[in-house]
Point group: C2
Chain length 369, copies 2
């Protein structure tokens, strides 16, 4: 493992957005997934992400991009976040705008800036492998690559996108190695995902990208020229008294596009992408099925202080309430109780929670959303 | 249908006992099944039973037997119950003791008394057929029979005992007829219950018995002589100042036995029993599966004012709370929410609720029992 310090030009960007509506009723518009504690650690996913990154870079080089209305909660959860390193978006405009704005601001401070983007709402338990993977990704980025960190699959999942692995570049540790990345692949059918798992030539795309800020802006200048010039205009005003005016005028015009489409796929097509394969004990906590893998058990597991009695049942019960909860004769059940809502479903139906939220909205039951 | 008034010697006895632990967390030691409203009528099962019987006999001839600690709640729910017609048991001693005491008190007032026993916690929706069946049972009782009312099965249930039907006695109405009763049969296996349904020669035993009080005491004198003399001693003291003393001394010694064993089976063996077959739209509301038949639907039905959203789900949700309840991808689910408890199970597992209550007791979680 490489023990040299990570490049002094490296900055970590944490985009903290998205409600996580598949995790309703825990996640809400006003208390999104990244502000919640899903692991029972006592820290939110955002705080865990910040702390994990703070082991690798000084806090002065960690930026968080979040929505205006969550800025206060984010600042409260991250007392070590440096002054000026919280970028508040006037409205949600997807990941490209968020990361590109951070890159444009950084490149004005340091033309050699390398930025790494790490989602605020994923769980990574193998922090040693994470540190090694980031160091390798930064090394690749410094050499001009678009580096991404791919997760070695542990199951055939059709809930994730994949990265197709090409020629080996280097072996960093038993759990970390780098390769050329041939392509980014959309969420596959389960049978195809099983094939990926069997052959080992595909990794989960966890949305972590590391590259020179200047390269990011250069690629966006080709794929999304209006978006690139928009963030450049905002960044130019960032340390002036015009910031609020320019932000208010330009931000709402930026194209909403995920960074996978604006950056990753075009760069892969040009042969610019390298992938660091890592065993991170990772999950994106995308839904309650994913969340329940954090609490593995053949029995009925529960999260929170509630008294739970299970008879011939498996699954997960989440409650911070005081009710006694009894469950009988249900397999892979998901029960989530909050002060104003109760969800009962199954792991197999975990993705349908998004449809429940849509149905509540349709019926005008919005005080629980 | 017979429109003559029911025999003026007829008294209705309503034994109001039993917690109904298969209906936890709705039913509790302190608020047993018979005190609760399971039909959404706004009246408890006890009150519905009282009102149903009050259509047939004057309230002066309706007696309720219940536990000491429920006497106040019973009196509150039944403002029309006549003074002196509430018999409070110092402790639960099963149905024979309860009904025999009522019979012994009655026979002292009226040697020709005919008593009919009607459980306080069943639902009967066809009140016209019920009236006709009771009138026929009273007629049979006056002629010296032990009359019982048997329910024409509507499904192959292994949750009920059965009565085997013999020779016809008379046809009262399209829904009501009487027969000799050959035997009482314990709860059968499902395949056997299906046979009973197919051949039509067995009725559900709903535990309703009508007979002369003197005959009841005579039979008990043979089958349960100590119990018979015990209740006779209590009844002799009933209108004296010794009542409390005798009750306190004798009651705890009475044998605990269901009236099916002390009366029905021995009388059937002697050829003394007649059964009135009736289509009453009856259910004993024994568990949540039985309860859910009161709210038939192919969708997710709910009882109570809570907001319930179901996606691809069937079953029943019971809640008086204010939570929004969302259910997705569950078949025949049973969800019951009270202020201090939450039950999640399935109709198929409805009988297991009793085991949950036992488990809570075993773990010492008794404040929700």
């Amino acid at each position: 493992m490489n023990n040299t310090p990570i490049d002094s030009n490296f900055y970590a960007v944490i985009p903290a957005g998205g409600v996580g509506s598949r995790l309703w009723p825990l996640s809400r518009v006003d208390s999104p997934k990244f502000l919640l504690d899903f692991t029972g650690s006592g820290r939110s996913l955002l705080r865990e992400t910040f702390d994990r990154v703070a082991h690798l870079v000084p806090t002065q080089r960690i930026l968080v991009v979040t929505g205006d209305h969550h800025a206060e909660a984010v600042a409260h959860q991250l007392p070590k976040l440096a002054e000026g390193n919280l970028i508040a978006e006037p409205s949600p405009r997807e990941s490209t705008a968020a990361i590109a704005l951070a890159a444009a601001i950084m490149v004005n401070q340091n033309p050699d800036a390398i930025i790494g983007s790490f989602a605020a709402d994923h769980v990574i338990r193998n922090e040693v492998a994470f540190a090694a993977a980031v160091a390798e990704a930064v090394r690749l980025a410094a050499s001009g690559k678009v580096a991404t960190i791919g997760i070695k699959p542990t199951s055939p999942s059709s809930a994730y996108g994949y990265i197709r692995v090409g020629d080996a570049i280097s072996e960093v540790s038993p759990q970390v190695a780098s390769f050329a990345a041939e392509a980014f692949v959309e969420k596959p059918a389960l049978a195809i995902a099983q094939g990926y798992l069997d052959t080992g030539n595909h990794l989960w795309n966890a949305g972590m990208f590391v590259l020179k800020a200047s390269l990011l802006l250069e690629i966006l200048g080709e794929t999304q020229p209006e978006l690139a010039s928009g963030v450049a205009a905002i960044a130019a005003s960032w340390n002036t008294e015009d910031r609020e005016d320019v932000l208010a005028r330009v931000w709402p015009t930026l194209h909403k596009i995920a960074i996978d489409y604006s950056l990753a796929e075009p760069a892969a097509a040009k042969g610019l992408v390298a992938v660091v394969s890592a065993e991170l004990d990772w999950t994106d906590v995308g839904d309650f099925a994913s969340m329940s893998t954090l609490h593995p058990s053949d029995e009925l597991t529960h999260v929170g202080p509630a008294t739970v009695v299970g008879l011939e049942s498996t699954g997960v019960v989440v409650s911070n309430g005081k009710k006694v909860i009894a469950v009988s004769g249900l397999t892979d059940v998901v029960i989530v109780e909050t002060e104003d809502a109760l969800l009962v479903t199954t792991k197999a139906q975990a993705q349908s929670v998004k449809a429940i939220v849509a149905e509540l909205d349709r019926r005008g039951i919005r005080d629980v959303l």
